[in-house]
Assembly symmetry: C2
Homo-oligomer: 97 residues x 2
Protein backbone atom coordinates (compact mmCIF):
# COMPACT_ATOMS: atom_id res chain seq x y z
CA UNK A 1 0.00 0.00 0.00
CA UNK A 2 1.30 3.49 -0.90
CA UNK A 3 -0.30 6.67 0.29
CA UNK A 4 0.19 10.40 0.07
CA UNK A 5 -0.32 12.37 3.32
CA UNK A 6 -3.54 14.37 3.74
CA UNK A 7 -3.24 17.47 1.53
CA UNK A 8 -5.14 20.67 2.25
CA UNK A 9 -6.40 22.73 -0.70
CA UNK A 10 -8.02 26.17 -0.73
CA UNK A 11 -10.05 26.47 -3.89
CA UNK A 12 -12.42 24.88 -3.01
CA UNK A 13 -11.43 24.42 0.66
CA UNK A 14 -10.91 20.67 1.04
CA UNK A 15 -8.59 17.92 2.25
CA UNK A 16 -7.45 15.28 -0.20
CA UNK A 17 -5.57 12.02 -0.12
CA UNK A 18 -4.70 9.25 -2.62
CA UNK A 19 -4.08 5.69 -1.51
CA UNK A 20 -2.81 2.91 -3.81
CA UNK A 21 -3.40 -0.74 -2.95
CA UNK A 22 -1.76 -3.99 -4.05
CA UNK A 23 -4.99 -5.52 -5.34
CA UNK A 24 -8.77 -5.11 -5.62
CA UNK A 25 -9.55 -6.99 -2.41
CA UNK A 26 -7.47 -4.46 -0.41
CA UNK A 27 -9.23 -1.60 -2.20
CA UNK A 28 -12.63 -3.16 -1.35
CA UNK A 29 -11.66 -3.69 2.31
CA UNK A 30 -10.74 -0.03 2.65
CA UNK A 31 -13.91 1.15 0.82
CA UNK A 32 -16.05 -0.98 3.16
CA UNK A 33 -14.30 0.58 6.19
CA UNK A 34 -14.91 4.05 4.75
CA UNK A 35 -18.60 3.28 4.18
CA UNK A 36 -18.97 2.28 7.82
CA UNK A 37 -17.13 5.40 9.01
CA UNK A 38 -19.30 7.62 6.80
CA UNK A 39 -22.49 6.17 8.24
CA UNK A 40 -21.23 6.31 11.84
CA UNK A 41 -19.97 9.90 11.59
CA UNK A 42 -22.42 11.32 9.05
CA UNK A 43 -19.51 12.48 6.87
CA UNK A 44 -19.54 11.60 3.17
CA UNK A 45 -16.30 12.42 1.34
CA UNK A 46 -16.28 12.44 -2.47
CA UNK A 47 -14.52 9.21 -3.34
CA UNK A 48 -13.13 8.09 -6.67
CA UNK A 49 -11.58 4.67 -7.07
CA UNK A 50 -10.43 2.09 -9.57
CA UNK A 51 -9.13 -1.42 -9.14
CA UNK A 52 -6.14 -0.47 -6.98
CA UNK A 53 -6.51 3.21 -5.94
CA UNK A 54 -8.81 5.41 -3.87
CA UNK A 55 -8.92 9.23 -3.96
CA UNK A 56 -10.63 10.93 -1.03
CA UNK A 57 -11.87 14.53 -1.01
CA UNK A 58 -13.40 16.02 2.13
CA UNK A 59 -15.03 19.40 1.51
CA UNK A 60 -14.42 21.85 4.38
CA UNK A 61 -17.07 24.47 3.60
CA UNK A 62 -19.77 23.43 6.08
CA UNK A 63 -23.33 23.11 4.77
CA UNK A 64 -25.34 25.95 6.37
CA UNK A 65 -27.06 23.74 8.90
CA UNK A 66 -23.84 22.67 10.59
CA UNK A 67 -21.73 24.46 13.19
CA UNK A 68 -18.28 24.95 11.51
CA UNK A 69 -16.34 24.16 14.69
CA UNK A 70 -18.25 20.94 15.34
CA UNK A 71 -17.80 19.96 11.71
CA UNK A 72 -14.00 20.66 11.86
CA UNK A 73 -13.71 18.41 14.93
CA UNK A 74 -15.72 15.69 13.21
CA UNK A 75 -13.47 15.93 10.13
CA UNK A 76 -10.35 15.68 12.32
CA UNK A 77 -11.77 12.55 13.96
CA UNK A 78 -12.65 11.14 10.52
CA UNK A 79 -9.06 11.71 9.29
CA UNK A 80 -7.68 10.02 12.41
CA UNK A 81 -9.99 7.02 11.90
CA UNK A 82 -8.88 6.71 8.26
CA UNK A 83 -5.23 6.80 9.39
CA UNK A 84 -6.00 4.05 11.92
CA UNK A 85 -7.76 1.93 9.28
CA UNK A 86 -4.81 2.27 6.90
CA UNK A 87 -2.30 1.45 9.64
CA UNK A 88 -4.39 -1.58 10.57
CA UNK A 89 -4.69 -2.69 6.96
CA UNK A 90 -0.93 -2.26 6.47
CA UNK A 91 -0.25 -4.41 9.59
CA UNK A 92 -2.68 -7.10 8.45
CA UNK A 93 -0.67 -7.49 5.29
CA UNK A 94 2.69 -7.33 7.12
CA UNK A 95 1.39 -10.11 9.33
CA UNK A 96 0.72 -12.27 6.27
CA UNK A 97 4.14 -11.83 4.63
CA UNK B 1 -33.24 7.55 -8.79
CA UNK B 2 -32.24 9.70 -11.77
CA UNK B 3 -29.79 8.59 -14.39
CA UNK B 4 -28.25 9.81 -17.62
CA UNK B 5 -27.99 7.28 -20.47
CA UNK B 6 -24.57 5.73 -21.23
CA UNK B 7 -22.52 8.41 -22.98
CA UNK B 8 -19.64 7.54 -25.33
CA UNK B 9 -16.62 9.84 -25.39
CA UNK B 10 -13.61 9.81 -27.73
CA UNK B 11 -10.75 11.52 -25.97
CA UNK B 12 -9.97 9.25 -24.18
CA UNK B 13 -12.24 6.56 -25.66
CA UNK B 14 -14.64 5.69 -22.85
CA UNK B 15 -18.28 5.23 -21.84
CA UNK B 16 -19.65 7.27 -18.97
CA UNK B 17 -22.80 7.46 -16.91
CA UNK B 18 -24.01 9.40 -13.85
CA UNK B 19 -26.67 8.01 -11.51
CA UNK B 20 -28.25 9.97 -8.66
CA UNK B 21 -29.90 8.18 -5.74
CA UNK B 22 -32.45 9.22 -3.13
CA UNK B 23 -30.19 8.36 -0.18
CA UNK B 24 -26.89 6.80 0.89
CA UNK B 25 -28.29 3.32 1.39
CA UNK B 26 -29.39 3.21 -2.29
CA UNK B 27 -25.95 4.46 -3.33
CA UNK B 28 -24.30 1.73 -1.20
CA UNK B 29 -26.59 -0.98 -2.62
CA UNK B 30 -25.63 -0.03 -6.17
CA UNK B 31 -21.90 0.18 -5.30
CA UNK B 32 -22.05 -3.29 -3.77
CA UNK B 33 -23.71 -4.64 -6.92
CA UNK B 34 -21.00 -2.99 -9.03
CA UNK B 35 -18.26 -4.51 -6.89
CA UNK B 36 -19.72 -7.96 -7.45
CA UNK B 37 -20.05 -7.38 -11.20
CA UNK B 38 -16.46 -6.13 -11.39
CA UNK B 39 -15.13 -9.24 -9.68
CA UNK B 40 -17.31 -11.60 -11.74
CA UNK B 41 -16.43 -10.01 -15.07
CA UNK B 42 -12.90 -8.79 -14.37
CA UNK B 43 -13.88 -5.26 -15.44
CA UNK B 44 -13.02 -2.34 -13.14
CA UNK B 45 -14.56 0.98 -14.17
CA UNK B 46 -13.25 4.19 -12.60
CA UNK B 47 -15.96 5.11 -10.12
CA UNK B 48 -16.47 8.36 -8.27
CA UNK B 49 -19.28 8.72 -5.75
CA UNK B 50 -20.59 10.86 -2.94
CA UNK B 51 -23.55 10.37 -0.62
CA UNK B 52 -26.19 10.27 -3.36
CA UNK B 53 -24.42 10.00 -6.75
CA UNK B 54 -22.21 7.57 -8.67
CA UNK B 55 -20.19 8.41 -11.80
CA UNK B 56 -19.00 5.46 -13.88
CA UNK B 57 -16.22 5.61 -16.48
CA UNK B 58 -15.35 2.52 -18.55
CA UNK B 59 -12.17 2.97 -20.56
CA UNK B 60 -12.42 1.40 -24.03
CA UNK B 61 -8.74 1.29 -25.00
CA UNK B 62 -7.97 -2.36 -24.24
CA UNK B 63 -4.85 -3.11 -22.20
CA UNK B 64 -2.38 -4.85 -24.55
CA UNK B 65 -2.99 -8.31 -23.15
CA UNK B 66 -6.66 -8.32 -24.10
CA UNK B 67 -8.35 -9.09 -27.42
CA UNK B 68 -10.27 -5.87 -28.32
CA UNK B 69 -13.31 -7.74 -29.64
CA UNK B 70 -13.60 -9.93 -26.55
CA UNK B 71 -13.21 -6.86 -24.35
CA UNK B 72 -15.93 -4.94 -26.32
CA UNK B 73 -18.35 -7.86 -25.79
CA UNK B 74 -17.51 -8.00 -22.09
CA UNK B 75 -18.11 -4.25 -21.78
CA UNK B 76 -21.48 -4.58 -23.57
CA UNK B 77 -22.46 -7.34 -21.13
CA UNK B 78 -21.28 -5.19 -18.20
CA UNK B 79 -23.41 -2.24 -19.40
CA UNK B 80 -26.45 -4.54 -19.76
CA UNK B 81 -25.92 -5.90 -16.23
CA UNK B 82 -25.69 -2.38 -14.82
CA UNK B 83 -28.93 -1.48 -16.63
CA UNK B 84 -30.58 -4.58 -15.12
CA UNK B 85 -29.31 -3.70 -11.62
CA UNK B 86 -30.67 -0.16 -11.92
CA UNK B 87 -34.03 -1.37 -13.25
CA UNK B 88 -34.19 -3.86 -10.38
CA UNK B 89 -33.28 -1.20 -7.82
CA UNK B 90 -35.88 1.16 -9.29
CA UNK B 91 -38.58 -1.58 -9.03
CA UNK B 92 -37.60 -2.40 -5.45
CA UNK B 93 -38.35 1.14 -4.50
CA UNK B 94 -41.55 1.30 -6.60
CA UNK B 95 -42.67 -1.85 -4.82
CA UNK B 96 -42.23 -0.14 -1.44
CA UNK B 97 -44.25 3.02 -2.25
Amino acid sequence: MQTSPWQRRDRPPCIERRIEFADYSETRAFLDTLAQLSEEMGLYPDISFGRTYVNLTLHLDAPQAQDPEEREQRIDRFLAEVDRALDGQGEDRVGTL
